[in-house]
């Protein structure tokens, strides 16, 4: 029974990579600044010293190039961990992930497995502007052949990353700059969390907040505020977006009869829409109110902090949505932000 210690999210990720690389020489880490610079966000700090340039590899600024290199290496049996400095930059390599990584196994009739992890931070940090503040799980989870993991706490980050590295499929693993310094209890040594299993971060009976990743903490803050008001919100952290833990979602909704999805990304055809579709189709009769979602506003991210704070989901917006869901007459009206062309 490994005894837990308190470390940061960043250290938990590093520990997962280091432990796996110690275990299996076919695993390597590749990306921009992962080696000599010790990682743009210091996730890989010390790993170059430990494993050397052969296994901790600084790349040119060529995401299509090194994503493709990872795919080719995985085709012949290596197990690459490819770091995107941030997922915003993965868009220049999108074709490699969608047309190559996601399809190889199927179109080769299972002759190849592709044990590769693409990881890095995503979503808004602080005032990084429109091109650097995107939560992109939807455009990856949409693609059959990819798995998508978005942890919310250090222990999950370690357990899920180790599982992702051992998984024989391309795994999209999304972190957050703003969580890297988050501390939490993390089991030392062997600690694996299977992909596709949600985790109940807070039990409740009145409403289910379905969420994942960084925004889980927003949902938890909201649940606390609601509790002070006698409303017991359950917070279900999906941890993995694809495969989706449909059973856990449905089980919870059938208990609480109310569903609010809280996500960071844009609303239109986002993950929340998929979850609401699941719930509306599979748990229709157990719903006491229309399912709803709290998301980023449907706009590119503005730089000015006062605008940015209006765009990203806040505990206040979650609380308001829950109160509307519960039909509290003192609930704030649904905020209407008209976006032309939408």
């Amino acid at each position: 029974m490994p005894e837990p210690r308190v470390i940061t999210f960043r250290e938990a990720l590093r520990e997962a990579m280091v432990e796996e690389m110690e275990r299996d020489p076919s695993i390597f880490l590749m990306g921009e600044e992962v080696g000599h610079y010790n990682g743009a966000y210091k996730v890989s700090e010390g790993m170059l010293d430990r494993f050397g340039e052969r296994r901790v590899i600084d790349t040119p600024i060529a995401e299509t190039g090194f994503a493709g290199v990872g795919i080719g290496a995985a085709m012949v049996g290596l197990r690459p961990i490819i770091e995107f400095m941030t997922w915003n930059f993965s868009l220049v390599a999108y074709d490699q992930l969608v047309n190559n990584a996601a399809k190889l196994r199927y179109m080769s009739n299972g002759q190849f497995t592709l044990p590769i992890v693409f990881r890095g931070p995503e979503g808004a940090a602080h005032a990084l502007g429109a091109q650097h503040s995107q939560a992109l799980e939807s455009i990856y989870a949409h693609i059959p052949g990819l798995k998508v993991v978005v942890p919310s706490i250090p222990a999950d980050a370690k357990g899920l990353l180790k599982a992702a590295i051992r998984d024989n499929n391309p795994v999209i693993f999304m972190e957050s700059e703003t969580m890297y310094s988050l501390k939490g209890e993390v089991p030392a040594g062997e600690h694996l969390i299977p992909l596709g299993v949600a985790d109940l971060k807070r039990p409740g009976r009145d409403v289910t907040l379905v969420t994942w990743g960084k925004i889980t903490h927003t949902a938890l803050k909201a649940a606390e505020a609601l509790a002070a008001d006698g409303i017991e919100a359950e917070v279900l952290d999906l941890r993995t977006i694809r495969p989706l833990d449909e059973a856990a979602i449905l089980e919870s909704i059938r208990r609480t009869h109310r569903c609010l999805v809280v996500q960071e990304g844009w609303p239109f055809a986002g993950i929340a829409a998929e979850i609401i579709t699941l719930v509306a189709h599979q748990a229709f009769d157990s719903l006491d109110a229309p399912p709803d979602r709290v998301t980023c506003l449907d706009v590119p991210m503005p730089y000015a902090r006062n605008l940015e704070s209006l765009v990203v989901p806040t505990p206040e917006r979650v609380v308001g949505a829950v109160r509307r869901l519960l039909g509290r007459d003192d609930a704030p009206p649904q905020p209407v932000i008209a976006v032309r062309g939408r």
Partner: protein, 317 residues
Amino acid sequence: MDAALLLGLYRQMCLCRRFEEAAAKAYSQGKVQGFLHLYIGQEAVAVGAISAIEETDYIVSTYREHAHYLARTGDARGAMAELFGKATGCSGGRGGSMHLFDARHRFLGGWAIVGGHVPIAAGVAFASKYREEPDVTLCFFGDGTANQGAFHEGLAIAAVWKLPLVLICENNQYAMGTPLYRTLSVEDVSVRARGYPMEAEIVNGDDVLEMREAVRHAVDRARKEKLPFFLEAKTYRFRGHSVADPAKYRTKEEVQKWMERDPIGLLAQRIQHLGIANEGQLQALDEEAKAQVQDAVEFAEESPAPAPETVAEYVYA
């Protein structure tokens, strides 16, 4: 001159030619569907190149890869059945003409996004170097690919990491209906190699022996010095971009001129000139190839389609 070698190359080139003629016929009969990109006229490139490497060296190619597949595996049945969309195809009928794969023979596709496979080939070469294995990776692509970002990033990485990768540009003068000069600012695609810089050589892609020698040299260097090499093979496709393309953008004269240097004809002349075999003996080899293709067609015809219940298999491992 090694007689067996020359006759073997001739036999292989005939197999590629007859295979594709049969594929085109099957297409006209609706038995092969989707896009069918014929390699007819370019056979010396694939056959010469692949004859020069070890069985353990890797091959990564495009949607115009029938000949590369045949030269490496000799498996006409698996390829034809794949074109027919049958369960016995080399990709189980799931891939199709553009996506032939054979892991056992280190034939790594069959990719249909222009340039997208170049970084993948670099990755395979990277793996060989990472594991300190002697294998070299051959990457085939067309002239029109030299403007694509993935091509650039693959070459940039191969150059800076010194990967055992031999890049073989099959300059067949056209990208679909577009002659090279209209989209490339240089006459020789190999000029691109100067920017990395990378060793480059232009070779007559219609001369199977010249092709073989050039690849042998490039592969030796890649293997020993772990350095990439860029080979530009000048050749020509006799047919349209795909069987659906009448290729009206080329003059009869131009096509005629190139057909006169038909790589199979050139090799036949040389063989006879060297007195290695006479026309009759060459014809016999061709008949052999035809028979093998006929057998492959029958095999494909008789093979079952993929089982419907397998439609969702192999999405994930």
